[in-house]
Subunit: 268 residues, 2 copies
């Protein structure tokens, strides 16, 4: 059986010095360079595959230090501190000896405790009732996802008339692939740049830093199978070249699987 | 003139090998160990004081890898990548050769662009109309801040009856100190653990990772002077040992200076 394109794209080969060798994937190409979510998944995979891994991901921060060139890269994941039930990772991705990504991750063994979701999933039509945009689109990585826009997605006209940065969509891998930490990390970067939506104006953008907090454990993600996720994101501030967004990802039952934030460079 | 306690507490001494020597501050002690916000400020100061620094802070992620012991620590801040207008930092704090903090920061030269605040400050009574809790309190670092609780702060009774994790307060250094990046990073950690508020139940907690996005530049922070900041925070999920919160910090004029997130360990 051929592996899913996502699994092919995040595959890492162990090197003798303990680092990992990977490569960018044409299947997940963005307009320029790779889809940042895939890069985040590749970085996280350097931790997930690591022989010293303790527990499961709790937090991941990925800083996009430089544009990735198409081709090979090296991931170095180092457990900077290992405690009884938590582990702290420093990760760097490099190309030709130059750092292109810096990242940190926290993994932990989770225990069952009092739990509660404090951010309810918004009321939305069911995924099957939301039409799919025409396939395939011109941006290759977009074809790797089934995205059903519920509100505030791509502007219909680029005339500067936007009045909200809030958007919601149903999303899953295309073709469907059972959810896991790597694919959830990638989907956390699926949101269109908020500045496009808020201004209905396209300007050059690039994510500078993104953080994902994982609220579900691996078993809960596996239970989601190939369900859709409801993704929601909205900006809080656009200021002198950088804007942020804050986002949530729920499963179809309304369980909050991850919360995510990013700060993005924009021009003009 | 004696330096402000905050400036004394974040002071770092350069070492011959390019690292910094600092120490925990009894003035900013929490119940156990130091106030995490002060630690974040000390980490950031290793970047702010660095001779190779380019630009001003845009993003800071601090991971609390181990409990800090009272006493000296070493901060190593390394510019992993320097571009034309952005710089990516990897920072580690260690005590006796063991990593206690991992962190990343992004600094950048900002340019004036189209800007807009998309998260309005909530309507609140003026700081002078909100009474100060009695001073001094039993937790030393709390005495270093003037905190005027507007809503959802410390539970009045610890009887498990909480129904919201949202809180708002006016806050500034005590005694007042002109705002800068280091003090803003510290204040970003001022919020009480959401689990206390949501459950009205005290349980053991510890911040695992926090991120701050700086929306203001240094000149805008300096203009704030000794103004109060309006801080708002609320949780999104409490799940099996970890909860998150998302927060905002505005100045008195309602300009969003920073947004912040954290994920916190809790027991039970």
């Amino acid at each position: 059986m051929t592996k899913h394109l996502f699994d092919q794209a995040i595959a890492l080969t162990p090197q003798a010095d303990g680092t990992w060798l990977g490569r960018t994937s044409p299947a997940y190409a963005n307009m320029v360079g790779p889809f940042g979510g895939l890069t985040a998944a590749q970085v996280l995979n350097g931790v997930l595959q690591h022989p010293q891994l303790l527990g499961e991901p709790i937090a991941l921060t990925v800083n996009f230090a430089a544009a990735l060139a198409d081709g090979p890269f090296v991931v170095q994941a180092r457990p900077a501190r290992t405690n009884r039930s938590t582990q702290h990772w420093i990760i760097e991705m490099s190309q030709e000896g130059q750092t292109v990504i810096t990242a940190t991750a926290v993994t932990a063994a989770r225990r069952k405790t009092w739990s509660l979701d404090d951010e309810p999933m918004p009321a939305c039509p069911a995924p099957g009732d939301v039409p799919l945009p025409p396939y395939p689109g011109p941006i290759e990585f977009v074809n790797r996802y089934e995205m059903r826009p519920v509100m505030g997605c791509m502007p219909e006209v680029w005339d500067g008339t936007g009045d909200s940065s809030l958007s919601r969509l149903w999303v899953r891998d295309h073709p469907p692939r059972p959810l896991d930490f790597a694919s959830l990390a990638a989907i956390a970067d699926i949101f269109l740049p908020r500045v496009f939506i808020r201004r209905s104006t396209p300007v050059p953008v690039g994510t500078v830093s993104m953080t994902v907090y994982f609220h579900a454990n691996g078993a809960q993600l596996a239970q989601c199978g190939v369900e859709y996720l409801m993704g929601q994101a909205r900006a809080q501030a656009f200021r002198n070249g950088f804007f942020d967004h804050t986002g949530q990802l729920w499963n179809e039952e309304g369980v909050l699987l991850a919360t995510t934030h990013q700060i993005v460079y924009y021009k003009e």
